[in-house]
Structure formats: C-alpha cells, structure tokens
C-alpha cells in the first residue's frame, strides 16, 4: 500500500516535470525540471529494488550530463527563447520548425500506440534473471552485452574526437 502510494507520487512527479520541461520559455528552468524528472525516475528504480541503477541514474544524468547542459545554457546566456514567428497567427498554421515538430510528435505517438498494441500489454516482469545487484550488472555487461557496450563507448569516442576536431582552431606558423 505504502509503496503503491510512493509509486504514484514518483510517477506523477516524473510526468509533470517532463511535461513542464517543454512548457518553459526559460531554458534554465527546463534543465532544472529535467533534473527533477530524473530524480523521480531514480525513485522508481529504488521501488523496483534496483538501488544501484537508481544511484547511477543520479550520478550520470542528474550529476554529470545535466551540469554540462546547465553550463552550456549559462555560457550562451540564453535567458529567454526567441519567438521568431508572427505571434498573431498560431504557429501550427505557418511554415517553420513548429509544424515539423508537430508532425514528428504525431508520428512518434502513432508508433508508440502501435508498439503498445502489438506488445499485448505485458508489464513489469524482467526478462530472465533479476539484474538489480552490482555484481549481476557487471557480469552481464562484460558477457552478454559486451559488444553493444563497447560499440557504444566507441560511438561516444567518435563524437568526442569530432567535437575536438571541430573546436580546434588551426594554428599557422
């Protein structure tokens, strides 16, 4: 009973915060709400008996990635989102990124509904063995999931090298 209540609490916070992220004009508030959403998500992991995943969620997303987001937002000092379109006409009635975004959102929604219908509403259960402990996760990462794990790290390395190449200024003698 108590854990049901906390589940609904965390789920409500996660959904509300995620919705508010895209409803903000001020990017700093968006970043903060995203952090709140990650926090609620990590609460859900705790309820699923996976404290390790919960803490990693906080360390990696809330503690590292979002700090970089905040850093970039502050450096650009983008205090308010610029509205480039004519505000008298509804944005969906004009050409521009809004219309494209709305189309993408609709496509995603249809895909999601289709996937959920096809999945037959199976919920909750983990496939195979429980993967909550540190040891189990470590073993899975270096045996069954070793290839995707390494490929992901190479992908991140490529992105990093790309960023360094782009950001480096050529020095002439």
């Amino acid at each position: 009973m108590g854990s049901d209540l906390t589940f609904y609490l965390f789920a409500a916070i996660a959904i509300a915060a995620s919705l508010l992220v895209i409803a903000q004009r001020n990017p700093i508030y968006s970043v903060l709400l995203l952090i709140a959403s990650f926090g609620a998500l990590s609460g859900l992991y705790v309820l699923l008996d996976a404290p390790f995943v919960a803490v990693i969620q906080i360390i990696v997303y809330a503690g590292a990635i979002m700090v970089l987001f905040l850093f970039v937002v502050m450096l650009l000092n983008a205090s308010h989102e610029e509205t480039e379109y004519d505000e008298r006409v509804h944005p969906l009635l004009q050409a521009g990124p809004m219309r494209f975004g709305a189309f993408l959102a609709a496509a995603l929604m249809i895909e999601l509904v289709w996937a959920l219908m096809k999945g037959g509403g199976e919920s909750g259960a983990f496939p195979g063995k429980a993967v909550s402990g540190v040891k189990e996760i470590g073993q899975l990462l270096f045996t069954d999931y070793a290839f995707p794990f390494e490929v992901t790290s190479i992908l991140i390395l490529v992105a990093m090298v790309g960023a360094v190449v782009l950001a480096r200024r050529e020095t002439h003698q």
């Binding site: 803490v55 906080i58 590292a64 850093f71 502050m74």
Partner: protein
C-alpha cells in the same frame, strides 16, 4: 517501538551534531588562522571566545535580506537551500560507530548510522555531484558578473575533480569488495604484523595514493583553499555568494562546513579504519572516529592558511593532466593487486 524511537532520536542527533560541527568549525578556523598568523583571534565573547559562533549567528539573523532587483527571485531563494540540503543529505549513509545497545538499554543493537544502504559509496558520490547545482544556480540567478563567473568556475572545477574523486572511491571499493561503508569499515579492523592497523591507507602503495587523490579532489569538491576558485575574494569579490546576505549567506556558509565534515567522515570510514583503533573498547569507537575526523578537519584549516590559491588554468591542468591519469593508473594497479594477491 523503542528501536523506532531510537532511530528517530539518532537522526535528529546527527542533524544537530552536524549543525553544531559547523559552529565549532567556524571557531576552530578562526582560532587556528589566528595562531598561524600570530594573532589572538576571537577572545572576547565567552571564555577564549568560545561563544563567538553564537554571536556570529545572531548577527547574521538580524541582518537585512537583500536581493538584486534583476535577480531571478525563485532560483535565488532556492540555491542556498539546495546547497545546505545536499551537504546534510550525504551524511545519512555515513556510519560513525559500531553497533551499540547503549549499555543494554535497547532490546536490539542499534547501528550508529542514519541509514545503511548497500550502495552507500555511490550515494555519497551522487549527492556530492548534485551539490554543484546550489553554487551554479546561485551564480546564475544573482544576475551579477562576479557571481556568474564563480558559478561557471565551480561547475567546471567540480566536474573535473569529480572524475578523480570517483576513481579514488572505486579503488577503495576494490579493496573492500563491497559498496557498503559499514562493510568497508569492518574489513579494516585488526592489524598487520601485530602493530600496523589494517587501514586502507596503509595498504601500500595503492591505498595511500587513493587517499591522497581522495583528499585533493575532496578539497576541490568542497571549494576550500587552495582550490576556492568559485569564491576567490581577490578576483571575484566573493564569487557565487557575492549578492547573498543574512540567512541565505549563512546557509552557504553552513553548507561549506558541513561538506567539509562529511568529506572528512567519509575519508575516515574509507581509508582510516572508521571507528577502529587501539586502546578503546568497541563501544567507545566513536571517540576514535571523532579524533580522526577532527585531525582531517584540522588539516583542512591548516591547508587554507598555509597555501596560496592556484591560478585557474593551473587547477584545470593539474586536475586533468596529473590527478586523473594517476587515479586511473592507481585504479588499474589496485585491481591487478587485488587479483594477484587474491584479497
């Protein structure tokens, strides 16, 4: 029932002791600073000035709460709260004594730890990584150049040193074969060859190197001299808390001291054997714990009044080009050692 009450009392006890520790640290800091600079320090309020922190608190309470007109009101108020909350939260998983029944008064032994989490090390790390938000938001929401520079500096600094901090924690994790702080402390009881305590810091050379990396990164994480760039008085006035006054300033101040206490307490648990020590029975282990934490805190203060502040580029170069490679190599060496000797 008694146990529940005892647990609540313990939680409140830890909370108030942390509050008190900040007051004590303010006094110690001023007295030690005075000693190192051949002054007397505070000596008028109470015997040898021991009531000086009380006077400071009263002064701060009666000051006017100021806010720049262009500041973001909500975030300006939220930032010190985040700082103080993160500072207190991390101590929740830190054990500070062996299990005790308080001389048979309790039916079951009580852990001297607010909450025993089996991923305690990671919780400490996660909360440390969250505490940067208080400073960054304070810097941004003040809408002042000095504050913003302080906030930017702190986010760059804390991200840079967090990596080495995490790798030092990982080395201990390998030595202790557990992520629970209680397990790690208990593994450090007893002695080697009858006289060297089995503390992780004496696990040469990896333990000692990990300890030095942990302390260096810990000082950087808590923004203390010689790494106090976010507030560097001479360049940034007071950095992120330039615009703060009265109680919201006091909360940043409180957060800084409580963070110091937490880093010292975690260092004691991870490297210095926690509450284990000679001469005292297990039930008085908390005395050893206090002695060790006190020694590290004194070291903190000593450092601040001895070393000059580095330059910002030196800080970054040191963090990325010296500390991080050493931490990585040390982690690999620890892993190899643990595998080879089969600890």
């Amino acid at each position: 029932m008694t146990l529940l009450v005892a647990q609540i009392v313990l939680t409140l006890f830890v909370f108030f002791m942390l509050l008190n520790s900040a007051a004590v640290m303010v006094y110690v800091e001023r007295k030690v600073a005075a000693f190192l600079q051949q002054r007397l320090g505070p000596y008028r309020v109470g015997w040898q000035g021991v009531l000086q922190p009380l006077a400071d608190i009263v002064k701060l309470l009666f000051k006017e709460e100021l806010r720049p007109r262009a500041a973001d009101a909500f975030l300006f108020a939220l930032a010190p709260v985040i700082s103080a909350t993160c500072a207190f939260a991390a101590f929740a998983v830190v054990p500070f004594g062996a299990e005790t029944t308080l001389g048979g008064w309790l039916p079951e032994p009580l852990r001297l730890q607010v909450s025993d989490v089996n991923v305690a090390i990671l919780v400490v790390f996660a909360i440390a990584s969250m505490s940067v938000y208080g400073i960054v938001l304070a810097g941004w929401s003040s809408n002042s150049k000095y504050s913003l520079l302080g906030g930017l500096r702190s986010s760059a600094q804390m991200i840079s040193y967090e990596l080495s901090y995490g790798l030092a924690l990982a080395s201990v994790l390998l030595l202790g074969q557990s992520m629970s702080l209680t397990d790690i402390v208990n593994l450090q009881s007893g002695t080697w060859f009858g006289f060297i305590p089995r503390w992780n810091v004496f696990f040469l050379p990896c333990g000692l190197i990990a300890f030095l990396i942990y302390m260096t990164a810990g000082i950087a994480e808590t923004n203390r001299a010689p790494f106090d760039f976010p507030e560097a008085e001479q360049e940034l006035v007071a950095g992120y808390h330039t615009e703060y006054s009265s109680m919201s300033f006091a909360m940043f101040f409180l957060a800084e001291y409580v963070n110091m206490v937490t880093v010292s307490a975690v260092a004691t648990d991870l490297f210095l054997g926690g509450w284990h020590g000679p001469f005292l029975p297990e039930s008085f282990g908390w005395i050893w714990f206090l002695v060790k934490v006190g020694a590290i805190l004194f070291f903190y203060v000593w450092m601040r009044w001895t070393l000059p502040r580095y330059r910002y580029d030196q800080l970054m170069r040191f963090g990325w080009k010296v500390l991080l490679p050493v931490a990585v190599v040390n982690l690999l060496a620890t892993a190899a050692g643990v595998l080879y000797f089969g600890l």
